[in-house]
Symmetry: C2
Subunit: 479 residues, 2 copies
């Protein structure tokens, strides 16, 4: 890529305009680009490699817990979409409709899946006979389309990539257990791999998935204090089973409806990584899922032996790490430093003639911008420790930000004042009445993110109306 397209100093400072900063760095780091269709994005190789690494880890976790992948059709007939009332009300306003195949108008229009419950339930009804067939533990990696009014790459796009797990079970207990199992897998993955501090909890009635009985969510705070819903897991009861007539012969020989779950995460998580960890120099990618963990930049590469050494190091290190070299002749080392810092590569190795002579190199860490000189003899060992330290430190920095931006709101005045001055998570107490939830949304566009599993019952009265409180809730503005 030629020089004029990526001048780092052109990046908007994040504290000046966070939205502009976000757009600047995702485009300039070549994660993504805008597509000719409104609201759609192109995932460029660097962005897609990030998604592949995410997929690899999650897919393995799904398979370890007994799930199998399948693939269901992209297109759903209108008559299927409308079978479950709450579901269609939730999704119909944002589906894309196919009306013509070639030159011919279709007899029944079909939509592009916004999610696949309806088509999967149709097939489950066909496949299920006996309790012996249960559970069905299926997942698919797929694209979905939701015609969104305002879009932003990764966070909200008309088409996005995701996985959707859909399972049916003999008993409500088993289905609930599955719902929680997958919720936990998401939370662990986000903490351990994406270095995102997350809050696990349940969605309120108002915020739950269209058609679900219970929705569990993983909520994360972005650098600017706004919330990102990073993944959800739903318990459906036998709601959809009834609407789609999915039945099985139970152990007593009677026909019965099974109990169902669905759960999904999407390319949206990549938006979460960017907005949690990034800084004014660009991306910071967690080592565990970074497409490139280590980049080697030669100093004075025209000098004898430097490029050979770089090649030798690459061959040696790629046995244990994801490594790239940058041996471009047309740009300076300083330019390369900016280039790879913008792209969030966790570690940079700098090596020149004097280093080679001294059998050493410089390690630069992207998270703290610190450098250290290490012996080439200890390189693997040092790198392993450094990457782990970066992974942990990134989590800690994000956790510190989340803590620093989490506040108590004891009453309505305090709540309004709080969100008029800053973004962040407000801990509030809630009476359980939807009127209070509506009131906060109307007042300042904050929403109830979740009723967290870890309750911090700091007072006995509802922050909003003053009546007796049922739950502690996190409220925030959201992406």
């Amino acid at each position: 890529m030629s020089e004029n397209k990526e001048f780092v100093k052109d990046i908007t400072k994040m504290d000046e305009d966070f939205a502009k900063w976000y757009t600047d760095i995702i485009l300039k780091s070549e994660l993504v680009d805008y597509a000719p269709v409104k609201g759609c994005m192109v995932m460029r190789p660097y962005g897609y490699a990030l998604w592949e690494n995410i997929q690899d880890v999650l897919d393995q976790k799904f398979k370890e817990t007994g799930h199998k992948n399948c693939y269901f059709p992209l297109l759903i007939p209108e008559s299927l979409l409308t079978k479950e009332k709450e579901h269609v009300e939730g999704f119909a306003p944002e589906v894309a409709w196919v009306t013509h195949g070639g030159e011919k108008e279709l007899e029944e229009r079909v939509c592009i899946r916004p999610t696949s419950e309806t088509i999967i339930c149709t097939m489950y009804a066909k496949w299920l006979n006996s309790y012996r067939d249960l559970p069905f533990l299926y997942n698919q990696w797929a694209n979905v389309v939701r015609w969104e009014k305002t879009t932003r790459p990764f966070l909200r796009t008309s088409e996005f990539l995701w996985q959707e797990g859909h399972t049916i079970h003999e008993t409500p207990e088993e289905a609930r257990e599955e719902t929680h199992r997958m919720h936990q897998i998401y939370a662990d993955f986000m903490r351990d791999y994406l270095a995102l501090p997350v809050i696990m909890g349940q969605k309120s009635e108002k915020e739950k998935f269209a058609g679900a009985e219970e929705t569990y969510t993983v909520e994360s705070m972005m650098h600017d204090g706004k919330a990102l819903q990073a993944g959800t897991s739903h318990y459906f009861g036998n709601h959809f089973a009834k609407a789609f007539d999915i039945k099985f012969q139970n152990r007593k020989g009677e026909m019965e409806y099974p109990y169902q779950t669905s759960w999904g995460v999407s390319t949206r998580m990549i938006g979460g990584i960017i907005m949690t960890h990034g800084d004014d120099r660009g991306l910071k990618l967690p080592p565990k899922i970074a497409p490139i963990q280590v980049v080697i930049v030669p100093i004075a590469q025209q000098k004898a032996g430097v490029l050979d050494k770089v090649e030798e190091l690459k061959t040696r290190l790629e046995k244990s790490f994801r490594v790239e070299t940058d041996i471009r002749e047309e740009v300076t080392p300083g330019y390369k430093f900016n280039h790879w810092e913008l792209r969030g590569v966790p570690v940079r190795i700098e090596i020149g003639p004097r280093d080679i002579e001294a059998n050493q190199c410089i390690l630069f860490r992207r998270d703290t911008l610190e450098k250290e000189t290490v012996s080439l003899d200890q390189l693997e060992e040092k790198l392993t420790a450094l990457l782990e330290d970066i992974q942990n430190n990134m989590f800690k920095m994000a956790e510190d930000n989340t803590k620093a931006r989490t506040f108590y709101a004891h009453d309505w005045d305090e709540y309004i004042k709080l969100f008029s001055e800053r973004e962040g998570f407000a801990k509030i107490m809630w009476c359980g009445d939807m009127a209070c939830e509506d009131k906060v949304k109307e007042a300042n566009a904050t929403t109830f993110r979740c009723i967290p599993f870890e309750q911090d019952r700091f007072q006995e009265t509802c922050t909003i109306c003053g009546k007796p409180a049922k739950h502690m809730v996190y409220a925030a503005r959201q992406y």
Copy 2:
């Protein structure tokens, strides 16, 4: 799955009705099911696992040859699709049109990608600046939609899964080299992994891809003697580059159009595996890509120690092989044998109390239906050799069939007589005139499969018109 859904004796014999046999076994082996949308299929876990294994191997081969994955949007505006004249003429009759997003009619209708040249070229025009940026070696794994009139699972469906590689290069030589490199990767993969004997060659002007200068194909003969086009690689010249204004500054500082390729294989290959190797008992899957390579079926499983031994063997074998056990209580061993033969699992291990006592088991191979008794001490070694032998033998059986069904046609009468009596590949000599190609298609619905790289110039006159011949061509009826 309960018993009543899968009685093996319900499978139509392949020699009675090959099409019905195909449908029977793909449904009963649970590879696939029909979807509620006409012409679409559901890939069930067993079928999708086959696709995952295919993807794993190919994806690695693409990456080893320097390609990177990306993801381009599903939706393409009409104005883009129509930019390249030949291309739109080829695809417009079969695209699905989206006209509404939610309740709103779109200002410009968009189609679901039938292939992605147009959208990818649009982005390449934006990204390319200098010769230093070249080549772009990108691939995507995606779904595409082509509104087909007659469909059959895997072979021709309205939606299918595939990969499409799209590359641009500085020179025509480099682009041609890439076209051939990917053509060869496809052919090697099909021979070495899918055990398909393939013919490599070039498509005629009439049969080449809409918009390409040259199309190279991998053609394979199915059990019934019909041809399957299993993969293609195209050289575009700078045709699309001109239509989409993709330009770069060359080494002399002048603006120039780059040279382009695209190449793809799809879930159609799975149809090829089924129709090449299957028999009256069902599927036969090549060991290298079989989701289950070895299934362990206990005999007299109620007897003490049998299930423990089965579990022990599984744990031991899954270190080296893809292994399943079938310990269902409600069905007999004989039923299980049929079940797994239908599913084409290459090797079955049978083990009962007497075998355990003698420290042995029975190995059944799906390809030849032979059994042998082996010592448990040598199991890994025997299995490794057996799986390799099955893989090779399956290729050989398919190759024998291809040879036995390949004929010479010296003149028009012989050509017509040949295809009135049988299916197969006809070797013909061709003058190069499209009129002759049109004539055969009209006469008996045969088409020119390719001008093979391995020319067998058996006479000097065109089989169809008797004029001087230019090439040897394979002709056949096709899927």
